[in-house]
């Protein structure tokens, strides 16, 4: 097959499919065993300096924030992150010096709330490197190729653009149609963390609402940490097996953490904490502000439960639940 163009982006998280099958054979257990642990244990066991990491959800939606804070608390360094619409999670990790390389589909912005002061400052000063560009569908399909155990997946996006040129994709002539076709390399993140509505102690998960990319990400990640609003009995999983979005055999750790996506949204349960996001957007304008934020909300608390107290506790949670149900009006404190 003739290679027409080769992207300039650094190829991260790719493995030969046979090498990955070996990894799966020896490291992903098919035994039904209790995987519950604390966030601190999971991050200490599974996140290594230099890893390629990916976070589930989308932007400020259903993000495993307790794992993000724990990575910062444990001072992990030189991480590469999948910027697969990674926003608040990435901003905190870059601002705190944990992530210094990003492959970007959408990063350094908070959608209508504005751009990320911290992430942009680190990129514009060269402290954080963008090692490749890609699109949202492109990233999604990196995970799809990974979960299928394939080296790449063909696609018709990214063609003819600088996004394609700075990606790690290759363009070839399609042997069937004779037209140029883009080949998106598989991604197998070293570790991924996904927050779900409920799962059992083995890691069989149910997610309400949109899956975004988590069906594929869960199945291609080499290590998968699940955080959950609640742990449910295995019998409940078995009663409605069609609701299982992620099966236990791709899961390595289960952490029960109610409100574990805060300040991000959890479909049907609680809304974005706009006041908290606004506080971060304001403080993160300076390195000193990032330190202030992290001292208060990450290093100054022992775990996520204490963090939630610092954010306003039950009263705040009750408000966010009402907001998600549209029983109280939207507040937009990040507006200039």
């Amino acid at each position: 097959m003739e290679v027409l163009h080769e992207g300039l982006g650094e190829l991260v998280g790719w493995h030969d499919p046979d090498e990955n099958r070996e990894f799966v054979l020896h490291n992903k257990s098919r035994a039904l065993k209790d995987k519950t642990m604390t966030a601190s244990e999971a991050v200490a066991s599974f996140v290594k300096n230099g890893d390629f990491i990916a976070s589930g959800g989308f932007g400020h939606i259903r993000v495993s924030m307790n794992i993000i804070y724990e990575i910062i608390r444990q001072h992990k360094r030189n991480l590469t992150m999948a910027g697969k619409t990674a926003v608040h999670d990435l901003d905190l990790l870059v601002g705190n010096g944990c992530v210094n390389k990003v492959e970007v589909a959408y990063s350094f912005g908070h959608e209508v709330r504005g751009l990320s002061p911290a992430g942009r400052r680190m990129v514009e000063s060269g402290k954080c490197k963008v090692i490749g560009e890609i699109s949202n569908a492109g990233y999604q399909w990196r995970f799809l190729a990974g979960m299928m155990g394939l080296p790449f997946i063909p696609s018709r996006n990214l063609l003819g653009t600088d996004t394609g040129k700075y990606s790690s994709c290759k363009v070839v002539t399609d042997p069937f149609s004779g037209k140029p076709i883009n080949l998106i390399p598989a991604a197998y993140p070293d570790v991924a963390f996904i927050h779900v509505h409920r799962c059992d102690i083995y890691g069989n998960c149910q997610i309400d609402g949109i899956m975004v990319e988590d069906f594929e990400l869960a199945r291609c990640a080499r290590k998968l940490i699940i955080t959950t609003e609640e742990i449910i009995d295995n019998e409940i999983i078995r009663r409605e097996p069609w609701r299982t979005n992620i099966p236990f055999y791709v899961v390595d750790a289960v952490i029960e953490q109610p409100y574990g996506s805060h300040p991000c949204e959890m479909h049907g349960k609680y809304f974005f904490d706009e006041e908290h996001i606004a506080e971060w957007l304001s403080l993160s304008k300076t390195d000193e502000g990032v330190r202030q934020y992290s001292d208060k909300y990450i290093f100054g608390v022992k775990d996520f439960d204490e963090y939630l107290e610092a954010c306003g506790g039950l009263k705040k949670i009750a408000f966010l639940q009402k907001r998600e149900a549209m029983r109280v009006p939207l507040v937009t404190p990040w507006r200039k």
């Binding site: 619409t85 970007v104 959608e111 209508v112 949202n136 569908a137 653009t161 399609d174 949109i210």
Partner: protein
């Protein structure tokens, strides 16, 4: 809008209603964050109640009760027909089910190529912007792509985008097909605070479709680094109706977070 306009509406309200007017009932639209979402909602609440709104993270066919902040939040499938995944909706887009893609941008050139990645050099940019998000995908796959650029100026209507994030007609006629992009796709309209533009069939260059009330051809030319084709005949853009404005202010964006107060 021109300074002599009465204060019946502001520029963002105008952009939203102009965008909404381009969308048809019974068609599908893939909307990005910000004004495209508002335009889709306004169309749904006025002339296009059966407009199929699709969000890149997996929300399909919602009846939107309030303006989402994010293209992934729960509202994006509120009273929808499916809460699915990015793989599902992007595959449908690639397979040809999406009529309109609706995007914003920081810079655009005469072929409708968009930059949302960086200003200056890619390795060490003057300004780092968020990147493609779903824009490259939507503009590659949708049958027709609509672009909103709120502030048309020589800095946003450029000869060459600093980074070609999202494909317009690339280097001109036939370039999309030559690159392997789906045939008969590409930018359809560009909406700015001054005018609505389309693309010339022969040259694929941007051309004037309608001038907003009170705007002159000189203003259009003075606010572009490239030559915009001015045909002999062009229209005057429709202004938002009082009903449009009431829906925008009361139902869609009561906090004014996107349309302003």
């Amino acid at each position: 809008m021109a300074n002599n306009q009465t204060a019946r509406y502001n520029m963002r309200e105008f952009l939203a209603s102009t965008g909404a007017n381009l969308l048809e009932d019974g068609k599908s639209v893939f909307v990005g964050t910000g004004l495209p979402m508002i335009a889709g909602m306004l169309a749904q609440k006025t002339h296009a109640p059966n407009l199929l709104i699709i969000f890149e993270a997996g929300g399909v066919g919602p009846i939107l009760p309030e303006l989402p902040i994010s293209v992934g939040q729960a509202l994006t499938c509120y009273r929808g027909i499916a809460a699915t995944s990015m793989h599902d909706v992007m595959s449908s887009c690639q397979a040809g089910f999406i009529d309109y893609g609706f995007l914003g941008g920081a810079q655009v050139d005469k072929y409708g190529n968009i930059n949302t990645t960086c200003i200056g050099d890619h390795a060490l940019p003057k300004a780092r912007l968020p990147g493609s998000g779903g824009a490259n995908d939507i503009a590659s796959f949708a049958h027709k792509t609509i672009i909103i650029i709120g502030g048309q100026s020589k800095r946003t209507f450029v000869n060459k985008v600093d980074f070609l994030t999202t494909p317009g007609y690339l280097s001109g006629p036939g370039a999309r097909e030559k690159a392997g992009l789906p045939s008969k796709t590409g930018p359809y309209r560009v909406i700015t605070q001054l005018a609505v533009y389309g693309f010339d069939e022969k040259t694929s260059g941007m051309k004037l479709i309608s001038l907003h009330p009170g705007i002159t051809i000189e203003e259009v030319r003075d606010n572009s680094s490239f030559d915009i084709l001015i045909p002999d005949k062009y229209a005057v853009s429709l202004e938002p109706t009082d009903r449009d404005l009431e829906i925008l202010r009361k139902d869609i964006d009561p906090t004014g977070m996107l349309i302003g107060k």
